[in-house]
Amino acid sequence: MATSPRVTQQKFQPWTDPDAKPYVRIEKVTKKFGDFVAVDDVSLDIFKKEIFCLLGASGCGKTTLLRMLAGFERPTSGKIFIDGIDMTLIPPYERPVNMMFQSYAIFPHMTVEQNVAFGLKQEGLPKDEIAQRVNDMLNMVKLGPFGKRKPHQLSGGQRQRVALARALVKKPKLLLLDEPLAALDKKLREHTQFELINIQETLGVTFIVVTHDQEEAMTLSTRIGLMNHGEIVQVGTPDQMYEYPNSRFVSEFIGSVNMFEGRLTDDEPSFVRIACDDLEAPIYVDHGVSSAPDATVWAAIRPEKITITREKPTEPDNWASAVVQDIAYMGDMSIYLLRLDSGKVVRVTQPNAYRHADDRITWDERVYLHWHATSPVVVTK
């Protein structure tokens, strides 16, 4: 996971304030195409100056939801409010919202300047104000010297910035970004993520970003809304989504995870114990779980929260024995694939903190896995 540039912003949490007024309110919105339900009864509150990411696999309805915010699609039922005004039936050209398209949709017959000025001319602003704002915006996205170029004379990254400038120059209340970085190569994408956040912080515009890339969502967003089959399955900050997933789907979608299916044997308010067929020792979790007794539950343990030792752990819980099946050396860390006696393969990552390690665990070695009682997340669905 890339380091989050959001660290400086951790105090920005309007969603925890019960008195804060949501800037964008999506109220029980459903969108059907024929019999197909693209967006299924979605309600969301998004606050001013947020970067909210709608995350999900392709076809999960995230783009349809974004297009309803832009006004290109009308909800089958439900309402959309922006800054307190009902926008449900307002056509796109009358909304205080601008969109950056995945394909960028830059007008090929116009220069960079004409593209950026297009929306301002449409508002009928005076010529010198348009020139001034276009100029400022092009400088902001570092396209100052490229104003007279035609789109086909630009690189992919430059086109992306033209699209961004064209949408932002109108000073929208809300900027919608559809897979804004998908067309860029990896290095440029990482660089642009930070630029995007800088611009957003400078202008104070609220962003809603659609992406299928969980890493991008983690890096960019104040909060993530994970979608599946047209429904929002969980909304939360990136660390909430990673450390406190509410379902197997969320924990498996965001990052990688080892999932152990089992039954609750001890169900106390302060701890639970889970018997799992794949493990010799039970899983002990240091918090209570709200679930019916004897129900099937899943313990999700992240690869980096498991340690590998050669000595058998002395504790009665939270360990397993395994054989090293495969090791992938990634430089900063190594990924170990360990086969339990049941045949289940567990994924563990270990940082390579030391350059010289003569005694590294190697292929086919018998080892023990161990994790802390705070590490497993217990989910019931």
Partner: protein, 304 residues
């Protein structure tokens, strides 16, 4: 040695590219040269009915006789000027009507659902499966004094006397627009169909009402299609001979008819050739200028 020989022989690639050039040489450049040659000759009652340009004098000297009189004749005689201008006028007005009728048709086909698009395009091309002459003759049946249209108008009581439609300019326009409409629709459709519709969404997003989006995005982007369609209609319409002679007033001056008269009635091949060459220059020069202006405008924008 073998390698040098191989370099001299044409390879597969140059053979393939040679085919269209050979075609143009055989069926365009050589006939053009012959017509050009005849246009500089003078009439002769003989077979062929013109004097050779080159001939050997008694002193074994090659003599070239260029007769510019044919071209001078075209300029001096008002008839030719009037015929050229009238042809261009008729072609221009027909092209305009083809565009006004063809654009909405091409647009609506390009925006209809993909499943019926091909059927609609088939319907546009379908008339080509009948003979062109037959279709023009059919218009005689529709437009004549006791034809379909007049009878219909009289039966619903709009008129009590038949309107003279056949052998008027109106009939010629109807015939040309009807016959050449598919040539307008096809390139326009090809252009409009491949247009990226998210550009219109982007325009709407930036504050354009649908009609503004059409004027500022669709129309300028379809300009290459408009130009291609207009050229495809305008160029053959200028030289059109069949439609004006079947549907038009016999006195209507069209350059195609003048050409026919010079060639077959007057048997003046040199003047007929000069008329043809002049017509070609009339058409080619503005088209080349147009094309260059458009290339400069596009700035290679086609290669995206």
């Amino acid at each position: 040695m073998m390698q040098r020989l191989r370099r001299l022989l044409p390879n597969g690639r140059s053979l393939v590219t040679a085919v269209p050039y050979l075609w143009l040489l055989l069926f365009f450049l050589i006939p053009f040269a012959i017509v050009l040659k005849i246009s500089f000759s003078s009439t002769l009652i003989a077979m062929p009915p013109y004097e050779p340009l080159l001939h050997w004098t008694a002193e074994k000297v090659l003599q070239i006789k260029l007769n510019l009189g044919n071209y001078a004749f075209l300029v001096e005689d008002n008839l030719y000027w009037m015929a050229y201008l009238n042809s261009i006028k008729v072609a221009a007005i027909s092209t305009l009507f083809c565009l006004l009728i063809g654009y909405p048709i091409a647009y609506s086909i390009a925006r209809s659902s993909p499943s019926i698009r091909n059927i609609l395009m088939l319907l546009i091309v379908l008339p080509f499966w009948t003979s062109f002459l037959l279709r023009v003759y059919a218009w005689i049946g529709i437009l004549k004094n006791n034809g379909l249209l007049n009878n219909f108008l009289m039966s619903i009581g709009v008129i009590d006397q038949p309107i003279q439609m056949l052998q008027t300019d109106f009939a010629v326009y109807v015939g040309i627009v009807y016959s050449y409409l598919p040539f307008m629709i096809l390139p326009l459709y090809a252009n409009l169909e491949k247009m990226d519709l998210t550009l219109l969404e982007a325009a709407a997003d930036l504050g354009c009402k649908p009609w503004q989006g059409f004027l500022k995005i669709t129309l300028p982007l379809s300009l290459p299609g408009i130009i291609a369609g207009c050229l495809l209609v305008f160029i053959p319409a200028v030289g059109e001979f069949v439609i004006p002679s079947l549907l038009g007033d016999p006195g209507m001056l069209m350059i195609g008819k003048v050409l026919w008269t010079e060639f077959f009635n007057n048997r003046d091949w040199p003047v007929a050739s000069a008329v043809a060459i002049a017509l070609l220059l009339f058409l080619v020069i503005p088209i080349m200028y147009f094309q260059r202006a458009q290339d400069a405008e596009a700035g290679g924008g086609v290669h995206r």
